[in-house]
Each structure stands twice: as C-alpha cells, then as structure tokens.
Symmetry: C2
Subunit: 221 residues, 2 copies
DNA sequence: CAGGGTCGGAATGTATACAAACGCCGCCGG
DNA sequence: CCGGCGGCGTTTGTATACATTCCGACCCTG
C-alpha cells in the first residue's frame, strides 16, 4: 500500500466536501492522528496538500481551519469550470480523432472511450431506478473526459474544481438538480466520434445549463 | 519567521520554473536538506505541496521527480488562464465599484487599487530603462488583480496557472514577448473605475493576444 | 557467456522525541 | 470594576531515529 498521507487526503477532503467538517472548523493534528490511526507526519503532509488545493487555510502556530466558502464564489467556480471542461472535451475529442494515426499508442484510450459510453448507459437506467447513484455517475462521467484529454495539468486542475463544486452542492440541501443525461449522451457521442469543436460547444452549453440550474435554486430568495 | 516549509516551497518552485531543476530530474530529499539547511520534514511537506500543484510527480518508494511539461499543454493552459483572469478582472472591478456601498469594509482594497496603478506606471518606465524587470512587474500586475477579486478560490487557482505559464516561458529561450503596457493601463483603468464587463473583456483580449504571441513564436518551425 | 536469482545499499515512509510559539486564564494595579 | 500583563498548558514546528521497500550489482548456474 502506497502512502498513508494519500488516504488521509482522500478521507479528509471527503469529510470536508460532505460537510462532516464544517467551514471554519479547527483541525487539530493530534485529533486527526487518533481519528485515522496514523502519526503526525502523514497528517501534516495531508494538510499541506489540502492547503495547496485551497480546502484549508493555515497560519503559523495558529493551526489549520477548514476554509470558508461563500456562495459568492459559486459563479466564479462555474466560470472556471466552463473553460476547463470546454478544453478537456475539445482535447479528448481530438485525441479520439487522432488515435488511429498514432497507431494506438495509448492502449488505455479505447478503454476510457468505452467507459464513457457505458457510463452514459448506466446514467440513463440509474436515473429512474437508483437516483441516489446519479451524482456519483455524473462525477465519473466528467472525470473520464478529463482523463481522456491526456493532459496532467488539466486533470489536476479539474480535480480541484470538481471537488469544490461537489462541496458547493453538498453545503446546501444536498439535493442536486435533475441531471440531463441526454446532454451527456450527446457529449459522449461527439467525443468518441472525434469532433473537437462540437464536443467543446456541447460541454460549454452543458456547464452553462448547470450553472443556470444552480442559480435558479438559490437566487430566488 | 513562519514555516520553513513555505520558504522551501518558494525556492524549489522558483528553481523548477527558472530551469535550475530540469523536468525529469529526481529530487532526493537528503540532497534538498543539505541544500536548504533544513530537516526532512519541511522538505517532505514542501514536496507534497508542489505535488498538489502539479510541479512534481511522486511514486511510492520511487522518489519524486520534476514533472515533464509538454508544449502541447501550452494552449490548454492559456485557455484556462483566459477564463480565470477574465473572472478575476470582472470580480475585481465589481468590488471596486461596490467599495463605497459597503463603507470601506476592506481597508486593503484602496491600497491594492493604488498598487495597481503604480504598477502600470512602473511598467511604462521599466519598459525602456530596465527591460529585465518587466517580466516581474507583469506577474505582479496580474497577481494584484487576482488579489483584488477577493476570492481565495480564484487566487489559489491563479497562482498555480500563473506559475505554470511562467515555467512555460522560462523553458525556452527565456525571452518573453513584448509586453503591451497600454493594454495593462486600459485594464487597470476599467478595474479601478469599477466597470466589470469592460475589465473582463479587456483582460480576455489581453490573454488572447498573449497566446497568439506565444504561438507565433513557437508554431512556425 | 548469458540469464536469472539473491543479497546489499540507499532512499522513502512512518513514528517518536524535543523545542518554540501562541492563547487562555488568572492576577494585579489603577 | 475593568484593563493590561505574565505564567502555564496546549499546539504547532522541527529534528532525529527506526521500518519498509526498491533498485542495482554480483554471483551462480545452465
């Protein structure tokens, strides 16, 4: 097994995102050690990692706290996400288009493509049978496209933005808007068909719709 | 003085960005300890931080290496940067516009605004007298606008993207394109005047021009 | 001589121990 | 009674020591 710090990062970030650790909560190293059953070094490394990602803030000798996350930043986040996913979709489609010319240099490419279409199918059935699974499938869908882009920079930026959006949704009711899997299907089709511009446009539109839905549910008050 | 890890992060990232540590170089903890005169714990924390930012990659028990950074990712990076800075400029201008209504709740706001205009002035004079200072002033200019946005999320994302762009420029010749400080002046004017949409549009155009310049210098071959 | 297996060194992962700084609580003086 | 201040406990920052894993060299065998 790899590094303890990685599992601590995952669990801590999960706890922050799902609201177990509320914004402003002070995270004491010793407590986290007891909670995760590890020493202080992995805990500190994990905290540094999350600090770099912006989930916690720390002041010297004053400890680390869960970052505060105002709804003002929602629109900013969606703006960044729009550009980010527009780009990942475009590059993913480009790579799918050129995959034959490079003679299957990346064997994982086909696998990811199949995973994408299978996720769309699963999404359609889950939509009416296991609604609670839809959110996870949605995340996987977008993450798969990011991985298809093949750019480590894009993937790492996407991870952070996606996690923060997740956080955003979890902070209020926890109910996410109705997912339009028909849009997902269209995006997946454009990506696998290797049409970069169509994929980018559809993805941009999809994120835009997502933001509109979010604002509709929150602005009215 | 705060944390040793922070200074190590800064110096290491600087070394990576300016080419002291070439991509693919293995970073041995003990060597870094001797180099910076600190123990392994701060070094490890710094490495974790840089890993989260995507400047190094690490495999368990295989050490950490400086990330490889293909020119393919340049266009992606600029696309993200465009959206990011478009957003920071818009929010910065919004905050400047509304700064009176909230009755100067943020005293640092005025200071940052003045710093912005002073940076523009310094840029104009530096352009013809100390050309080697221009790059640093450019970075400060964009960073100041990011801080003016007041969004920790945007600032943290901006830092990473900006450093990577810096890296990009440093990896080849080290000569950056001619900086158009007239564009900077226009942006600063729109921001301080509190015109969000104009600031956003100008910034987007500015980044776009930056990308065009980059591609012109690299695509031709 | 080639190939594979095994052993040793070196570097990472983890835990524990020590030092420095902050904040809180109680005390004292005005 | 209230505000400043100093001691003390808690927590973070740093260093050192131990355990685990990987990589490479060497040797043995076919």
């Amino acid at each position: 097994m790899g590094k303890l710090a990685d599992t601590v990062v995952t669990r801590l970030r999960g706890g922050i995102v799902d609201g177990t650790y509320a914004p402003g909560t002070r995270l004491v190293e010793a407590d986290l050690c007891r909670e995760f059953g590890v020493s202080r070094v992995p805990v500190r490394e994990a905290l540094r990692h999350l600090e770099a990602e912006g989930f916690v803030v720390s002041r010297p000798y004053a400890g680390v706290r869960v970052a505060r996350f105002g709804p003002d930043e929602a629109a900013d986040l969606f703006a960044v996400r729009r550009a980010l996913e527009e780009t990942t979709a475009r590059r993913a489609a480009t790579r799918m288009r050129d995959r034959t010319s490079v003679a299957g240099r990346d064997p994982g490419l086909e696998e990811l493509g199949e995973r994408l279409t299978s996720l769309v199918a699963m999404g359609h059935t889950a939509l009416r049978e296991w609604p609670e699974e839809v959110a996870a499938l949605n995340t996987s869908f977008h993450a798969t496209i990011a991985e298809l882009s093949g750019s480590t920079v894009l993937v790492s930026l996407f991870r952070q933005v996606a996690a923060k959006i997740e956080w955003l949704y979890a902070m209020d009711v926890g109910v996410r808007g109705p997912h339009s899997w028909s849009e997902h299907a269209a995006i997946a089709e454009a990506v696998t068909a290797g049409d970069p511009e169509r994929a980018a446009a559809l993805m941009a539109e999809h994120v835009e719709a997502s933001l509109t839905g979010y604002l509709l549910r929150h602005a009215p008050q």
